[in-house]
Symmetry: C2
Subunit: 415 residues, 2 copies
């Protein structure tokens, strides 16, 4: 089926979901989760084929993103069940106002309509996106990466069976059958068929959307996240946070890519950093890419031009020495993708200066950037991390997949 056909089917199916009751939607979610678990063997089989094909040309950490196991599928199903537990954003009265003339004015949540998502190789995005779209009353059209195509098809097949058991059309969750750039381009320009496009991916995809998208679009995902270790940092906490932010899951967008160190403590802190991230880590030492000042203190790879503008998604950390908090803020303004940044300091004034001036979706004081996540922020699961300012910023949960309308009830009032 062509991408246009898929979009038209989604648009035709969407109004029925838009007026579905919360109970209908929750029931469908539970049946989707059940169907997913029942299809575990088929999904693992298809995932094994994807893994086999991908093994030759993608890195170990990217393979980890692609890999499914029985427990990961169970976690995906549980993720869907968690979405069923969340409050329904559709029909929720966000604000209300009584006009002096006596009318009631209510601002009420509504679905966007058809949400299209372009993503890469993590198969769990398929089920997360489907669950969030369904609960928020939106039909979704998924366009995954070619590495995960078989896995995604198997997941969508299972979900479709769950939907049909719930009496809803399978067209509410569809996978684009073409993983070429052309299909992404088609989604970007499908004016009137796509109410919201969410591209999740690398800088190339984001740039392509900025240049080509004619439909409403929210850019997500690219995370060049910085951790700034201030002169007033608790250095032991800084080491724990850096190790966690860099190594707990290097392939995700909220992992740290850059460490900035205040020059007053560089000579003391950098050797500790080197010990913790390199010497103490036998199996997966972190490669440090150092600016000139850091090279004078610890061994490591000299940073090349571009290393401070790269989302490594690997056991690599760029390290620079900065003069003060303002210099850290300026460096972040020049190099950040607007995702997540942290300051490690016991100095409240430095923390205040940093949180006020850094213009990113999530700004941390004394904790790991790895917390930027819909679940951690209390939204249930998430559709991605918005790095733009319009409509949604940071983790996108159910509310962010909705719009609203005003309902005004009167009794003959005129103005």
């Amino acid at each position: 089926m062509t991408t246009q056909d898929i979009l038209r089917r989604a648009k035709a199916a969407a109004p029925r979901l838009a007026i579905a009751s919360t109970q209908t939607k929750n029931n469908a979610l539970l049946l989707m989760a059940q169907a997913l678990e029942e299809h575990t063997q088929q999904i693992l089989r298809e995932n094994a084929l994807d893994m086999q094909a991908a093994r030759e040309h993608i890195s170990e950490v990217m393979l980890d993103r692609l890999c499914l196991t029985e427990s990961r599928i169970k976690a995906m199903a549980d993720g869907i069940r968690q979405v069923a537990e969340l409050p329904d954003p559709v029909g929720r009265v966000r604000a209300s106002h009584t006009h002096p003339g006596g009318m009631t004015i209510e601002k009420v949540g509504i679905p966007m309509g058809v949400v299209a998502i372009i993503y890469e190789s993590r198969p769990n995005v398929t089920s997360d996106a489907a669950a969030l779209a369904l609960k928020s009353g939106n039909a979704c059209v998924l366009r995954g990466g070619k590495e995960a195509f078989r896995s995604a098809n198997a997941i969508v097949e299972a979900i479709g069976q769950g939907l049909q058991k719930a009496g809803l059309p399978a067209e509410l969750v569809q996978l684009v059958q073409d993983t070429s750039r052309e299909s992404a381009r088609e989604l970007m320009t499908a004016v009137g068929l796509v109410d919201l496009l969410i591209p999740r991916g690398g800088a190339g995809l984001i740039r392509s959307c900025t240049e080509n998208a004619k439909v409403p679009c929210i850019q997500t995902g690219t995370g060049i996240c910085h951790i700034y270790v201030d002169q007033a940092a608790d250095q032991e906490k800084a080491l724990n946070i850096l190790e966690n932010a860099k190594t707990s899951r290097p392939s995700v967008c909220n992992a740290a890519e850059v460490c900035l160190v205040h020059q007053a403590i560089a000579a003391e802190f950098l050797p500790k950093l080197h010990a913790r991230l390199v010497l103490d880590r036998k199996e997966t030492p972190v490669q440090l890419r150092l600016d000139g000042a850091a090279q004078a203190i610890i061994p490591g790879t000299p940073a090349e031009s571009g290393d401070f503008d790269t989302e490594f998604l690997d056991y690599i950390l760029a390290v620079a020495v900065v003069q003060d908090t303002q210099a850290a803020i300026d460096h972040i303004a020049a190099h950040s993708t607007g995702h997540s940044e942290a300051i490690i300091t016991q100095d409240e004034a430095a923390a205040e200066q940093f949180t006020r001036a850094v213009d990113s979706a999530a700004v941390y004081v004394n904790c790991s950037t790895r917390f930027t996540d819909g679940g951690e922020f209390g939204l249930g699961c998430e559709m991605g991390i918005s790095t733009q300012k319009l409509h949604a910023r940071g983790p996108m949960g159910l509310e962010e997949l909705c719009s609203y309308k005003y309902l005004i009830r009167g009794n003959g009032q005129t103005r």
Copy 2:
């Protein structure tokens, strides 16, 4: 000065406003209002020149939009003072969450940065937009229509003096000095310099934005507003509402352009409509453009193709007879711009069906579409009426000119 120069000056000035205190901003607003009143004579003089140049080629209702008087300038200044009274959206904690690990997670309002507005001939938009941008912490770049260019320049000049008296740079409110299409195109493509573009205008401008905009954009203004008179309508109320929605200010976007009448009451209601809007109005009778069924009942102009897709902004009303509420909903889905629609009925089931299914920014039961307005909805004044679903819908007040970021404060937490 070129448009690029103006944008760069705005971008350079914006960070200072972003961290300005509420008191600084309110003080600036009061001084802007005062400066506006003090410049009344200069503004009226420039407005008279605009009016003189425009008189030959624009309609009477468009001239009314352009015309300034002493009392209209006073109203503009009072509008600015009202914005000073409104709560500051910047720094407002929109939501907060305590993570099980003990961190506090706050969702905090922030300015967008540089807001650009493309608008037409209403000079009061100049001061409304400047006031809302300033209070929401945004630098603004205004690109008005050529008919109002002299008036807008005089208003911006006055506002700039107010800003400077308050110790803020006049670059926070600037007027583009080129009113050609080229300058609109420049704003649409100024990636990195414009954080939010708000085009206010006709269908041509909106289409141009959809096709050309590379910067975040919110489309506003075009209103083909419908009033559906159900078979269970209180017909006297329907007549009052229709007269109000059509004739109280025909040049504005929330004026009604189309009346749909349930076929069961058409023979009874349409003659009353004809009497009220045509016969009883000696000075400004409404021209009715009738579909075939309506023509069989009352005199009027036969509707031509396009009359149900036109924002007349004049004493003209397109009238059609529909089979039932669903047919009214379908007609609206096919012809509306998504601005404001009303149902007049005493039947709660019909009202429920209509409000649920009609996908417009404001959906009314038994009152006039003329209420779609930031002031009427309790937002203070407004930056325009969004007719899109992303970010903002309906009247855009201070909150809609902001984004947010998450601030997470911890004590060494890792994930």
